[in-house]
Symmetry: C2
Subunit: 307 residues, 2 copies
């Protein structure tokens, strides 16, 4: 039976490039696989795919009756809506262990590294399958994106070594320059509807029963938000109400200054004080050194909800 390989809702580059890279590997080892996606590709991902000559994977929302290999999460909220009617045959991920469960044994390649594609590279090595030049390119870009060109505290030596090896295969001499080019594409927010920006890299979390939505925009200069910050705030307030969320956060991350301005609206008015030791003022707070939603934002938040 053929399987679909699919990342999370509102796919990022790791989800899309990972689905393509893992499908190729599975096909090489005699397990037919098709990459798929649960949403639109971001401008950053479109840039990567075009750079290395790939089309976006098939858009597919329903997986009832299918075999599915999950990329880049293990959370029900981030999975296809009908995942309970599918068979999860595997998970490759680098986040905390979520609430997906299965009725049958599966394979899980989960590692505390900076990017799922770093683990997919380990899978290629395990199966002794050569990585084609263009697939090495998209895997490398996904890692540079997830690790913010190695600046994120989620970045490990495994990620750095992996990028170096993939750059060699892809024939990319200056991968840091390519990374900056990619983040410039990501920083272009002008002309994009506010809701699209909030949703560009957005995840809902179930925190001890409360729904918490957290978006993140990584740019090379926060000045790009000067004219639209009030609109962004109005929109996360609207999303909080629409989704019956306890909390909505939008992280405006400056990858050069290495910190994030957090826009927050929550039923708990001292949430950032409790989670990060710094109160928000009129729904805004600068968190110095905070680049990673996964490692620096979510765990502290979770502790507040579980206290």
């Amino acid at each position: 039976m053929s399987m679909y390989v699919v990342g999370h809702k509102i796919p990022d580059s790791d989800s899309i490039c990972g689905a393509i890279a893992l499908s190729y590997l599975k096909n090489q080892i005699g397990e037919p696989a098709t990459p798929a996606r649960l949403g639109d590709v971001s401008p950053e991902t479109a840039f990567i795919l075009e750079k290395f000559g790939f089309e976006a994977p098939e858009f597919k929302e329903s997986y009832a009756g299918e075999d599915v290999y999950i990329v880049d999460h293990s959370e029900l909220t981030q999975a296809p809506d009908d995942i309970s009617e599918a068979t999860i045959v595997g998970i490759v991920d680098h986040h905390k262990l979520g609430d997906l469960t299965t009725a049958t044994p599966l394979e899980c390649w989960i590692r505390p590294v900076g990017c799922s594609n770093t683990i997919i590279k380990m899978m290629y090595d395990f199966h002794n399958v050569e990585i084609p030049k263009n697939i090495a390119g998209i895997m490398m870009c996904a890692i540079l994106s997830d690790t913010v060109i190695f600046k994120s505290p989620t970045c490990t030596t495994a990620d750095i070594k992996c990028v170096e090896a993939l750059a060699e295969i892809a024939g990319v001499e200056d991968f840091k320059a390519l990374g900056m080019e990619m983040f410039k594409v990501k920083s272009a927010v002008e002309g994009t509807p506010v809701r699209d920006l909030v949703m560009r890299d957005f995840k809902d979390f179930n925190m001890n029963g409360s729904k918490v939505g957290i978006g993140q925009l990584e740019v090379i200069d926060l000045a790009v938000f000067d004219d639209i910050k009030a609109d962004l705030e109005a929109d996360i307030a609207a999303m909080k109400a629409e989704g019956e969320r306890h909390t909505m956060m939008l992280l405006l991350t400056d990858i050069m200054k290495e910190g994030s301005e957090v826009l927050v609206i929550s039923d708990n008015h001292s949430l950032t004080e409790q989670a990060y030791g710094k109160a928000s003022v009129e729904g805004r707070v600068w968190l110095d050194g905070v680049l990673s939603r996964k490692k620096q934002v979510v765990p502290n938040l979770q502790k507040v909800f579980e206290a």
Copy 2:
């Protein structure tokens, strides 16, 4: 920080040997680790440990504030009672994905193979660490136990290759003979209290909100149960009431005839009919070819509870 490596409640040979083998590997790669256990070792496991010169790991029930590496399951019901106060740093397992979750990223080595020790061998290979002779011996025995000397439908070619490689390292020429010797130890039930037999390899499952307890005794001749079957039935009835369980099952598995007599007491009187197409008669049913709780008993049961 040092970690504990611990298998499931009512540990089997895979849990105990896996904790020892994985702790040794972790120590070799600079991550201090101590093997532990959540319960008494079985006669089979005692035989293995003595054969290769090991003491049983430390008995330890409480893990609050500790780093824990979980072996052979991913289920809350099988984990230490205070696991929510510990940090799960990793999971090695070969079952369905259970309901354990974490607040932080971790490593999961989960594969659809016959035994956790087969995956631990992959971890040794990944880290390029040599397996000592005596550790190879206990890992090999754990795999022979879990795969019922390759007869179980859970057994994969990876398990067989792994046993062959470990036998070579351990210097064991006839591993099948050693496996039979081990199952003879396992078959000695005379003189053992009935409750100890029921609990020897027992797991509670949460099936769509219902608590289902399933024990298994693997022997080389079911005749050993002739005199005690009525006592076993009385005892599982008692355990059903004591534990407020929906269902109690005891699988009496004949590894030579390759099938299991199931003793069952359940709130659903047509449970085995619905799950396996064969009605129980006075709480007993013979399931031909059924050797594996994980692959042949649990999934069908789960479907009935989720229907």
